[in-house]
Amino acid sequence: MKKIFNQYFSTRMLAVCALLLPAMGCNKFLDQPLPSGEITQANAYVSDNSISAVVTGNFMNMVNEGFFNGGDNDLGMYADEIQYYNPGSPTSVLFLYYLNELVVNDANFWTPMYNQIYGVNAALAGIQGATATLYYKNQWLGESYFNRAVVYFYLTNLYGPVPMALTTDYAVTNVLSRAPQTQVYQQVVSDLQQARSLLNYSYTNAYGGTTGDRVRPDRYSATAMLAKVYLYEQQWDSAEIMADSVIANTSTYALQPLSSVFTANGKETIWSIEIPVTNTTAPQQYLNYIGSMPTPIPAGKTPNNYSVFCLMDTALVNTFEPGDGRLTTWVHKDSITGSPGSTFYSPYKYNTLSTTAQLPIVLRLGELYLIRAEARAEQGNIAGAQSDLNAVRTRAGLPNTTAADQASLLAAIMHERRVELFTENGNRFFDLKRWGTIDSVMTTYDAIKGSGAKWSDYKQLLPLPSNDLQQDANLTQNTGYSVQ
């Protein structure tokens, strides 16, 4: 045996192995390049340019999914603004309208919003830990704080107490329990205050330069957002002060005629978002309601023939005062003669397929006037409140308000908010909750819906996704929802 081994293995086989040896040190071969379009985390925080891309990516995520991707439509349907229209509607529309259930995916908002928070947390850690010299560090930090505040604001208004994820470490975030809403608001206010101190007084672009575009927040955007947060927190004085400082900047902000309120980067805009050209070709607010529907609709056709599944609620249409310019400018009306003859109303604030002519507005001056009006009314400043309210009414072509005492003035503001801010970012739904009128309004509305619709108090808050309740034992479901 040994002989054979010596004869064949030791000499010839070793020679063969030697031929293969050069291939054996191939560890380097395994260092394959990353797929195109991907970089390592280490390369993401090396310069103003790459950090700006990360911060911009966070804004893009915010727009592409979660609350700003059709949330206004969903909440409009959830509350009393949008009406389900046709048997051909997708199942999700039916459930949302009739049962106030996000049946198709209860994680619609929650999951993408926490993904956005992860992105911001990663960016904040990355920017603060960056070793390179950064020239616009304040801007990147300010934008990130602003971003996180906006997401948490909507998150807590949709779900109530929510877990406060402020790190990217899953060992921490996977076992969080829900923080009280006051703590969430504290964080939102603190982030916005940080943003206010870090951001510029004027709009800046992704390279740190000044721009006419209003899609990245500036110091006034943070201030306006703070005004809204304080209003929700019923800190009327703070809300008024914040609103004041924005409205006072008349060189940048001014109320625009109804037809140009939603024009891109107009003076009405405090902060708008831009839709990255990926999934849609126009603001969702247009596609949801009018889409490819011709004007007028030909005889024998209905909006459903053009995949339009929801319309403006009749009660909302009827609530406009006679002569209100907003009903003619911001609402699309289509009458069909013949059988079955009918009239259809659709929200028409956004009315173009163009991606650049109009941009979806999140914060605008009209809302700031109404915020200040409400804050002033709550503090007993009747004249101030009237003046703010009238500013909005005048633009709509309506006479000054007749409300002269606090109670009627607040009622007038509530009405004005409904017709001014309809189908904008769930304002109606949040307002009904703030004012405590949601149960009575929605119960009345059940009768209009029919088909066994039944509003319950617990539906003010949305259910947490069942997956998260399974994975994180410290999370609890909102009252009323089954613990899946």
Binding site: Y8, R12, V16, L19, L20, M24, C26, F29, L30, D31, Q32, L34, P35, G37, E38, I39, T40, S50, T56, G57, M60, N61, V63, N64, P87, L94, A107, W110, T111, Y114, N115, I117, G119, P163, A165, T168, Y170, T173, N174, L176, N205, A206, R216, P276, N279, T281, P294, T295, G300, N304, N305, Y306, P340, N467, D468, Q470, Q471, D472, V483, Q484
Partner: protein, 1129 residues
């Protein structure tokens, strides 16, 4: 050829032809069955029965002559020192008998053409090897020329048979007339082999070389083709006889019987352990492949590795256009790379299953390996081979829809059930649409007869040093859907083998190129077509154009797809080269380099004609998508092999090698929206809005291995595999893993005590294997934090976003695979059977562990501590029931019985609420369905408390109410093929069967029946009508809302699952081979005419749905009928 042309032209395009063909086939089957009953088995015996003590050798030879007709020749005086023989055998095969009686005699034998010649055994002292290093002057034994001829069992010359001298590099192929010549030395052994025949060994002695040279005629006998066929393994071949591993081989003959576009359709039902599911009947669609239930806790069933001619091949889904409603990906289920290899170009498919067979592929082989070998050059006289078939495909199994009276009746009942009255909007029942109008919309949308044509031509031949083959193919597949699309492909290939005169250097080159053009519109009409009311006016004008002003609201959105434009051009290049160098006889150095490049350019266009002419946004909504992908794969595998017979009885083979794979996938997608003219749609970059995406995904893999195989006396086989694998999927410290396996087999029929006592046992082998294979089936770079560039810009800037949670601690997955098997042949292989049991345990499995989305993502990749076990039995039974001169009947049967069990639940998190300890991971927890309440007609459910409610009163159901459990994996599957030949006719009938559950038609209905303008299955005729009705179908209702909710709950209940067990007449192939006389007159080498049918009949209780793809809204597998001719000249 002139004659043949007549046969090529059956008028297949005429629709009635194929009902005729079916009739002919039926008639032929009847006639053949009648014929079977009359034919008796006859045949010349080649076995010996003899018993006696101290018999004289001469007398034994006389008995042999008497019983077998074989004559024994020997030199005078040879028998002088013969010993007397004591023997007691019954019906023992001749060769075994000779082995037995001559074992202790001083002479050996050689069988040549019914003649047994005896010669003296060489004296041991003569072959003592002189030590080469010391005694170089010793004279080498003289070289003798040897000329011989190889014949088949009928005396026809075999061209291309291999004649090799054992343990040397010398081997030749037989040329015309089956002739060969060699230079040999006494003491050498010549092995003569040919595929499908038992190899013969002839030992040469100084005595017999002389006599042999006068008439060395070797007559090969058909072997047990199952045992002696070549099996392709990782880097080498073996025969099933000597393989300790578990490999199933599908031959080109089996494939040729199936008129299919994807070869997996031909493998279906033929390969135990390989589960194949066709997901759509649409040509170009995907196939789900799975070997032995290989499953991942989170990603489900894992597809095996597919290797074509040594190159890693993209057999999974392809990066086709995946953009929302225009997605080709959704339409074809991702497609399949195997659609771009013409099945007729495939020589064989080997499916490697156990650790012994797959370990050598390391991590990539953990989930099974499918080796595809294309047809290669063969030596012999130049031959032109032409194969042409043509036929039609029609839609397969689908549930029947209601006709107009039924539809109208049920609609009226639905309205009445809801306490409503027929309204203005109910056009279908209020008289607006005539109730005597009937259109079968499915027939309009899916009723076409799709032409299928296939032509293959090859030319090849060669001599002992150089062989060549060139081939061309053409295939055209029509569409059963309503539009003009067609899938046409053509291919060219070549293969060249050449070696030097001294056989030291050999070069093999092969290449093939296939170009495919598919213009079928990627839209599946099968669900849309069921929806329109049968008395609806429909969306078409009399001229066939779309009537956009129809009062039928449903179908313009379906019909508009007809106007889409599609053009998908896919090219596939496969090239490989092998360089073989044999520096000394026992050492072979081999380098294999393979390259595969699959590219596709696809245009999907949505012109203005797909929108209503009145639509204001039509122009702005026009779209054009260009999707381009290029998948490249390069494999380089050098290895060295040492092969030596030691101590005369021991065949040792040692292989050492490495394998390097590099794959890159490029994808480029341009999506333009808003075109000024439909004529500009061919340029997606001309759109008003353009979105570009580009991706380049690299993959690298590196492994080194060693294999030691030892065969002792053709009796004991030991196989050791070791492999070291590197993977980029792990952090540098955890990158390398060591894996290996051991396989052993014992051919106990080679033992004399078995030979002597169990003469009816022709073959018996016990085999077993055990090994560890790694797994790395996760995306690359999960151990690193990665940022991804987002598509589009925000305020002019491109964004970056983190892609997921990072886990730096990932390690190799462990697959511990064990198998034992037994293979038995009885009565001269009249019965061959095989049984295997496997036991595979997966641990340390790489899974995406679900995490709370508060973490930012839904899952984290980690090594799970769950343990999954796959076990199963696989059986093969092949029998030759009747074998006679004119008639044979053989049966091949196989069945696989897989089982899966979760041995340890993952502890880190509740991975999936469907997992139960001790149950298969393929199960689902479901609500308990209590049937349709006979009092109310509603579906009812039983909750966790055991209380049964009608749906409208059902309290919210939660996880606790999921009291039922259903396993969705197949319980068993397999196939049975009966083959008959009668004179020149042959018939193969193949059934495949699967036992499993599937979602039933009610659970798959998009909507329950009752709304305006939505038709349903005839199963709605059994609906509940009045209190007391006992039925499984609920009452009809127009209440969309309640029905939807109810259906949603139903789909999550055990009521949604019913048995989808089926048996399918998968394939029927009827052939006529021209007789030799006719061939001679026609000056042909071969001519065969055939009729084939695919998916002809399905027996199942699955409510009319296709039980294979289990999907009501996808085109079911098609039914195909073809006829063709195969000519050789």
């Amino acid at each position: 050829m002139q004659n043949a042309a007549y046969w090529i032209r059956p008028a297949w395009r005429r629709p009635r032809m194929f009902t005729k063909i079916v009739r002919i086939v039926k008639l032929s089957m009847l006639l053949l069955t009648a014929a079977f009953l009359q034919v008796q088995a006859t045949g010349l015996s080649q076995s010996v029965t003899l018993s006696g003590n101290n018999l004289e050798v001469k007398k034994v030879f006389a008995t042999i002559r008497q019983q077998t007709g074989y004559v024994v020749f020997y030199r005078k005086g040879l028998l002088a020192d013969a010993k007397p023989i004591s023997v007691a055998v019954h019906d023992m095969p001749l060769t075994e008998f000779l082995d037995l009686v001559l074992k202790n005699q001083p002479f050996t034998y050689l069988i040549l053409d019914r003649t047994i010649s005896l010669s003296r055994k060489p004296e041991p002292s003569v072959i003592t090897r002189p030590a080469p290093s010391v005694d170089t002057t010793a004279p080498k034994p003289q070289l003798f020329p040897l000329i011989g001829r190889v014949l088949d069992e009928n005396g026809n010359p075999l061209i291309g048979a291999s004649v090799m001298i054992k343990n040397t590099a010398t081997s030749v192929m037989t040329r015309d007339g089956g002739l060969f010549d060699l230079k040999v030395r006494p003491g050498q052994t010549v092995i003569i082999s040919y595929v499908g025949y038992s190899p013969q060994q002839v030992r040469l002695t100084a005595d017999n070389i002389e006599s042999l040279n006068k008439a060395f005629v070797v007559r090969l006998q058909p072997g047990n083709s199952d045992l002696d066929q070549v099996q392709v393994l990782a880097h080498g071949t073996t025969s099933k006889r000597l393989n300790p591993g578990d490999v199933t081989t599908i031959t080109s003959e089996q494939i040729a019987m199936n008129p299919v576009a994807n070869v997996m359709q031909a493998v279906q039902g033929n390969a135990p352990g390989l589960f194949i599911q066709q997901t759509t009947g649409q040509p170009g669609g995907a196939f789900n492949l799975n070997v032995r239930g290989a499953a991942n806790l989170t990603s489900g069933l894992i597809a095996p590795l597919v290797i074509v001619d040594g190159i890693r091949y993209p057999a999974g889904t392809l990066p086709t256009n995946s953009y929302s409603q225009l997605s080709t990906e959704a339409f074809l289920g991702g497609g399949s790379g195997l659609n771009y290899i013409n099945p007729n170009d495939i020589e064989r498919i080997d499916i490697l299953k156990d650790a012994d067979a797959t370990a050598i592929y390391g991590s990539s082989g953990a989930y099974g390996v499918i080796l595809i070998t294309t047809k290669k050059a063969k030596a012999g006289q130049a031959t032109l081979d032409v194969n042409v078939y043509e036929g039609v495909s029609i839609k397969g199994e689908m549930p029947k829809l209601l006709n107009t009276p039924e539809y109208v009746g049920l609609r009226a009942e639905a309205i009445k059930n809801d306490g409503l009255t027929i309204g203005k909007g109910d056009l279908d029942v209020n008289g607006t649409w005539p109730t005597n109008r009937y259109t079968d919309w499915r027939k309009i949308y899916l009723g076409a007869e799709a032409n299928t044509e296939n032509a293959n031509i090859s030319y090849g031949g060669g001599n002992r040093n150089t062989t060549y083959r060139i081939n061309g193919s053409y295939q055209s597949i029509g569409d059963i859907q309503l539009h003009k699309g067609i899938d046409v492909n053509g291919g060219l290939g070549f293969s060249l083998t050449t070696r030097t005169e001294d056989n030291k250097l050999e070069l093999d080159f092969a290449g093939s190129y296939l170009a495919s053009k598919n213009t079928m519109i990627p839209y599946d009409f099968s669900s849309g077509s069921t929806e329109d009311a049968p008395n609806a006016p429909g969306p078409f004008n009399a001229s066939g154009t779309i009537n956009w002003n129809t009062d039928d609201p449903n179908l313009t959105q379906v019909a508009n797809n007809l106007y889409r434009i599609e053009d998908n051009v896919t090219n596939n290049l496969i090239a490989n080269g092998t360089l073989v160098y044999k520096p000394i006889p026992s050492v072979t150095l081999r380098a294999i380099i393979g390259y595969n490049d699959m590219t596709s350019k696809e245009w999907t266009e949505l012109p203005t004609t797909t929108f209503a002419p009145t639509s204001t946004s039509a122009a702005a909504s026009t779209q054009s998508i260009f999707n381009n992908y290029d998948m490249r794969s390069l494999t380089a595998a050098p290895y060295a092999e040492y092969d030596k017979t030691l101590w005369r009885k021991n065949d040792l083979s040692v292989k050492v090698g490495g394998e390097l794979d590099e794959q890159t996938t490029y994808q480029y997608n341009i999506r333009g929206t808003g075109f000024p003219s439909d004529a500009l749609l061919n340029d997606p970059a001309a759109g008003a809005t353009i979105v570009n995406t580009y991706s380049e995904t690299p993959f690298r893999d590196l492994g080194f291995y060693g294999i030691v195989k030892d065969v002792w006396d053709q009796k004991y086989i030991l196989d050791l595999n070791g492999r070291r694998d590197g993977s980029t999927k792990f952090a540098p410290g955890d990158r390398w893993g060591n894996f290996g396996s051991i396989g052993a087999a014992w051919i106990f029929t080679q033992e004399n005590w078995v030979k002597g006592h169990l003469p009816w046992l022709s073959f018996g082998k016990l085999r077993g294997s055990d090994g560890i294979v790694g797994g790395d089936a996760i995306a690359a770079y999960q151990y690193l934090s990665i940022y991804d560039a987002l598509t589009g810009t925000y305020d002019g800037k491109i964004g970056l976003t983190p892609t997921g949670l990072t886990n730096p601690n990932l390690k190799w997955e462990q697959n511990k695979d064990k198998e034992i098997g037994i293979e038995l042949g009885f009565f001269k292989y009249r019965i061959f059977t095989q049984a295997s049991y496997y036991h595979n345990v997966v641990s340390n499995q790489l899974v995406g562990r679900p995490v709370s989305s508060v973490t930012g993502f839904s899952s984290l990749t980690l090594n799970s501590d769950a343990v999954i076990r796959n076990t199963g039995w696989e059986f093969i039974l092949n029998t030759r029931n009747i074998v006679s001169r004119n008639f044979t009947w053989t049966t091949r049967f196989n069945i696989s019985i897989p089982a899966n069990k979760l041995l340890k639940l993952p502890t880190l998190a509740n991975q999936n609420t469907n997992f139960i300890l001790g149950k298969p991971v393929t199960g689902l927890k479901l609500y308990k369905y209590a049937g349709v309440d006979s009092a109310t007609g509603y579906m009812s459910y039983t909750n966790a408390k055991g209380v049964t409610y009608d749906y409208p009163k059902l309290p919210a159901m939660g996880q606790a109410d999921e009291t039922q459990w259903v396993n969705t994996a197949p319980k068993f599957y397999g196939g049975v093929t009966n083959s008959f030949t009668y004179k020149q006719f042959s018939l193969d009938v193949q059934f495949s069967f699967i036992d499993r559950v599937g979602k039933n038609w009610l659970a798959q209905s998009n909507t329950a029946f009752g709304y305006f303008d939505f038709n349903g299955s005839t199963q709605w005729l059994n609906r509940w009508q009045k209190p007391g009705d006992k039925t499984s179908v609920p009452k009809v209702s127009t209440n969309v809302f309640t029905d939807l909710l109810s259906l949603g709950t139903f789909q999550n209940s055990n009521g949604a699952y019913t048995s989808a067990t089926y048996a399918r007449l998968q394939n029927l192939s009827f052939r006529y081979n021209f007789s030799k006389e006719m061939l001679r007159k026609m000056h042909l080498k071969g001519c065969m005419l055939y009729l084939q049918g695919q998916n002809l009949l399905t027996i199942s209780k699955y409510g009319g749905l296709d039980p294979e793809n289990l999907n009501a809204s996808v085109i079911p597998p098609l039914r195909t009928f073809t006829g063709g001719i195969n000519l050789s000249l």
